[in-house]
Symmetry: C2
Subunit: 150 residues, 2 copies
DNA sequence: TCTTGACCTCAAGTTAGGTTTAGAAATTAC
DNA sequence: GTAATTTCTAAACCTAACTTGAGGTCAAGA
């Protein structure tokens, strides 16, 4: 492989730990844009290693591929994230993470209350219609672990 | 509807807030076992309201339907959860929840370290191969947001 | 040169947790 | 008794994020 010919998809797979099929899939989703060599095979920049690493991290944080694409698209064409980019993005990750931790903590508190009360004949319960999606559907009151006519 | 004929699927849907189609689906998954009236329509016990409420809560906690079925199957045939059942089960929920909170908190700490360091040329990074699935695949070292030959 | 392994495309399959649709039968309301 | 709801089944469809398979091509080593 000559010096300036870029990485093959297999090499990229080995170095990121991703499956070859996953990398191809990411291409269809617009997360990476390899070029083709004369034989029609994909060739990648070293910067794509970082892009894929970024994808993997963002997935850990629960981001969907379209959301990740959105972040990557904010970078000037094909650029590898700089320290400044990373700082901005990771602060947004941090906020998301804080929210999720807070949500679970509230759920835990609700559950603790519920363990104490036995919760089997409640007409309303904190576990029902939890904070993170209250009012989402507007379907009126529901009953939890109990029968309103019970 | 005579007093002892049980609830129709629509009534159950109204009182739980679930879609009729979801209730039918739960039956296919073995979470509830309605009987049929002479016309072939499903009829439910009031206890099924609690079973379904239980399903909905457990889903909030991230349990899959097979896992929920497993919990319900531990109850003597068709029984509605008693206070004792609920205490046991909710303690298990609590443990799961604690784990998930701890995991996210570690992730947040790692991220905080990573914001500081810039993280763009690391050969190893705490965000890579996070605690909750370390060693999962045995694929050797991977590189994160950095190029090992960089 | 030959062979083997990596790579190509495109379509279909996978899992989870359901929803939608179609056509028919049962039930309820008037 | 008739019309309007509900309910029935079975199969197809849905999203997300990929994987698998079939059939064919490219590249690298002996």
């Amino acid at each position: 492989m000559a010096l300036n010919e870029g990485l093959s998809i297999g090499a990229l797979a080995q170095r990121t730990g991703l499956a070859v099929s996953a990398i191809r899939y990411y291409e269809t989703q617009g997360l990476i844009r390899p070029w083709r060599n004369t034989g029609g095979q994909r060739r990648f920049n070293r910067a794509d290693l970082r892009r894929l690493s970024f994808v993997m991290i963002a997935q850990q944080f629960g981001y969907t591929l379209p959301q990740i694409k959105q972040e990557l698209d904010r970078l000037p064409d094909g650029r590898t994230p700089t320290k400044g980019d990373w700082t901005r993005i990771s602060k947004s990750f941090r906020a998301t993470l804080d929210q999720r931790i807070a949500m679970l903590t509230r759920l835990r508190d609700d559950l603790d209350g519920c363990i104490g009360c036995g919760c089997l004949s409640l007409k309303a319960c904190a576990l029902y219609n939890p904070h993170d999606r209250a009012g989402e559907k507007g379907q009126g009151p529901r009953f939890l672990m109990g029968d309103p006519h019970g």
